[in-house]
Symmetry: D3
Subunit: 73 residues, 6 copies
């Protein structure tokens, strides 16, 4: 009965505001399959929760992610 | 000094957009009481954080939750 | 299909090393009942995960919890 | 390669709706520096994710935070 | 720069005490590939953290997982 | 009333098995000060929880962290 939490930045997707429902469904299906294939975990008791995080709320390299990308580009 | 995180789908409640403030207050009170009753934890240092998750961001059975409900019904 | 994570300090219980299996079963039952009573969530898809945290890994008031308790006593 | 998650209530800041982008950038910089200073962790692989939580979704003392503040004031 | 947290029960694997290092490496590779395939996320900034949870600390159906399995079998 | 969770790999420190209690106390003090300085958050209601994660349970670049370090060195 795994629980998987995927945190990603809210960007990209059809309107630039985050992944589409189809993309998120692919993540859910893919992670659930992986846990079944590798560890034999049952899909019926596998939870996947996706959190989309605003760019200004995600830091890397000591900077908000957009500034970080500018800094390293 | 417990920390409790409750993740639920954003649905139901008075307008179908998630639990009401009253329902969330009941969850906060109930969990805090439980930790005091079972383990003697002080309410003043018990935190409860409720996350409401969009239906398309919650997966079970390898499917987003709404598709899962249709599939098993 | 709620997911609840309860974080508590690893202390107390029968041998001072954390809550007993019975106490943890009470937390699991109590939280699951609460979510069913308040929001009508089904127990079969309610997950509860308890994390026990070493005292030196939990801070409050800017201090590890044992030092904090000495400081305020 | 640390991962830091900071959860705060969504309040204060320039418009009362939460911390400003500048304040969040200060948190990101400060936590990243701290991990480098204390443990030698590289900023390039330090992630910081800030979650802003609605006041009615945060409980302390068995009450939603606004009611708690009234109760203790 | 995704962050993925996988929580599983500590069981199974070569000695019954949880998945092997090889199995965990498969989870890490699989999730990282999935995020690259579906959303174009770079592996170099994809973190995967696996938490193994003692059976008595995981509840489902209002029961610790071992009791739950007995109850439904 | 912030809640901060710091996840780091279990390595380094006095015996190679993770940061010392003193180092963890520095993290707790530093994060608490930062939240007070930047956002005016009270230390008495600031929780910091440190999770130390085994190297084989932390992935980056699609590999467990030790293999990743070998691969990029």
């Amino acid at each position: 009965m795994p629980y998987v939490n995927i945190k990603i930045t809210r960007e990209g997707g059809p309107d630039g505001l985050g992944p589409s429902a189809e993309e998120k469904a692919c993540l859910i299906a893919g992670v659930t399959d992986l846990l079944q294939d590798v560890l034999g975990k049952k899909p019926a008791t596998t939870f996947v929760v996706i959190d989309e995080v605003d760019l200004e709320n995600w830091g890397i390299g000591g900077l908000p992610v957009e500034e970080y990308r500018k800094a390293i580009s």
